[in-house]
Amino acid sequence: MSSTIIKAEGLSKYYRLGAQGSGRFREDWSNWWKGKSIGGDEAHIWALKDVSFEIKEGEVVGFIGRNGAGKSTLLKIISRITQPTKGSVKGRGRIASLLEVGTGFHGDLTGRENIFLNGHILGMTRAEILSQFDAIVEFSGVETFLDTPVKRYSSGMYVRLAFAVAAHLTPEILIVDEVLAVGDAEFQQKCLRKMKEVSRAAGRTVLFVSHNMQALRNLCQRAFFLEKGELVASGDPGLLIAQYLQKESVQYLKQIFKDRDTAPGNDAVRIKRVELLPEFPAGGSVIDIRTALRVELEFWYEPPADTDLIVGIHLFSVAGDCIFDIASPRTTLKRGLARGGCLIPANFLNDGDYYISIVFVNNTTSRLFYFEGCLSFQVADYRENTSWYGKWIGHVRPDFRVSLEHENQGIDG
């Protein structure tokens, strides 16, 4: 049993919404002069409410929760970027926080200069950077551009260099927030491996926030689930992730508009309902790659004279790549309520986050209405009989057979 390295007690953070005061000296001054009180009944929010936890040395802990649940605020307090309103955090050892890659990079300086600058900002000494320099350069793969100003780097190179510096930090506690959302899949993979190595081999404590559930599941030994600033659960990452996804997915799976006048659309098309209905295999309750998804759509239609209609369904990955664009046949509809839909089969999409946009096209050419990002959902991973735990690449993971066999059967048995 190793010892506690971070201990948070009753951590709370209060934010006033909007500026404190007016942000202008003249106004604050004249308000004060006239005896007007500023503030008082301003809107406020508890970004964190009474959060307490202990983290053991060498543990890798993941934080799960929606945007605004308080994950980033929590990491910011532990990183000493902002102060708690109440409560305290105590700990031992140096902390390096990586809330964003490339913090402090200066465009006019060369890659070499920036390795040192960024390393120092993250708390490394010159000697530490020197001892890791070659490893950093090798990891980032930018050695030919070391003496080029980083503003001429491609965004991929920039991120690789920035992460390389961070990955070679040598603090006792590493705090990582969502940095894996950048870079290509291969590099992300490399980063994950590196982080695993850092925590397992060097025994460092890692606090980790990501929306990449696969990464969380693979890396973390323990997870904390935050909701509206409160720590609602902690424990096994797999369990918590499932809980989170289930809670989360309900939110975006349908949009229903009862009032035709305020529904999204225009004179020709008004949306009544868009809905994603998962067809779970027996016993399932989380959308994973085995789940078929039915998209349903109802709308009020007021056809422009003598025209036909095509409804197209566009599926995008969360990064904005279009995965498919399928369309209904040309149909002439009467005015009134209409419905449509499609079925995304099971074992088709890969795990990941997706969103759907629906387009209404008139006479095959003019766009009547584009209902952008009207549905969004997350597909969880599901694997059986495989020893590969990394992110499965690609947007689709269709269930085709790949055959493999001896060409000349029977010759050597």
Partner: protein, 282 residues
Amino acid sequence: MKETDEWEWEIDPGRPWFRWELGSIVRYRDLLFRLVRRDLLANYKQTVLGAFWILLQPIMTTLVYWLIFSNIVKVPIGDVPPLLFYLSGIICWNFFSDCLNGSMYTFLTNAAIFNKVYFPRLIVPFSSMLAHSIRLSVQLVLLFLVYFLFYIGGKVSAPGVSWLLLPPILLLTGLFGLGAGLIISVLTAKYRDLDYTLQFVLRIWMFASPVFYPAGLVKGSWKWVFWLNPLAPLIELFRSACFGIGEISFPYLIICIVTILSTLILGIALFKRHELKLTDII
């Protein structure tokens, strides 16, 4: 392993006025020097004239002052060669205003970094002052070069021991700029509309300091107000140490030093007290 109650650090809502954590600056000294380097490199890499700009600015200003105040308006400055007189005033004033400008926008210009990573925030204004000190020393070399030329020409006497006073005078000048800049940095983070006012005040301040005229010209019953400006005794003392001209009143010098030290202490205390709170509003 046993549970330990010996924590190395603690983060809490409290912020006493005098927890300055100056030790952490020593721990982060590599960052300090790296920022100085960045400051100098990034500033001059992209300009056509490069590092030569450090010298060009005081030279041009001196020539302009010489043209206007020696030849057109004719401000009496005593026996010192005008070029030396203006150059010394400009160097002192520039160092002060550079140190002030280098620290007064600390929170605004570094909001992005301050929001993402922890390091002792005081490093930023300190590094800016250090970078300006390097610029200052280059400019001092220029001053001494010009002085040497006048010495060969027989216009000024050989440097005396009084030159040893120059480093402490300049240190006080820089610290005053830094201290005032730290106080203002907290204000500019809160009030964006202070910017124009400040630049205006800074310009007036220069006219109120003996940059292009000797303090001896200031007469009348309001003279003491002029001397309360810590830069007045400093610039006069600089010229006195350099060229042996001007009069220094000892009481005003004491007031000047006390003002500077209290400004600096107030500046650091205010900065430390607000550094984390300001992250939430910028």
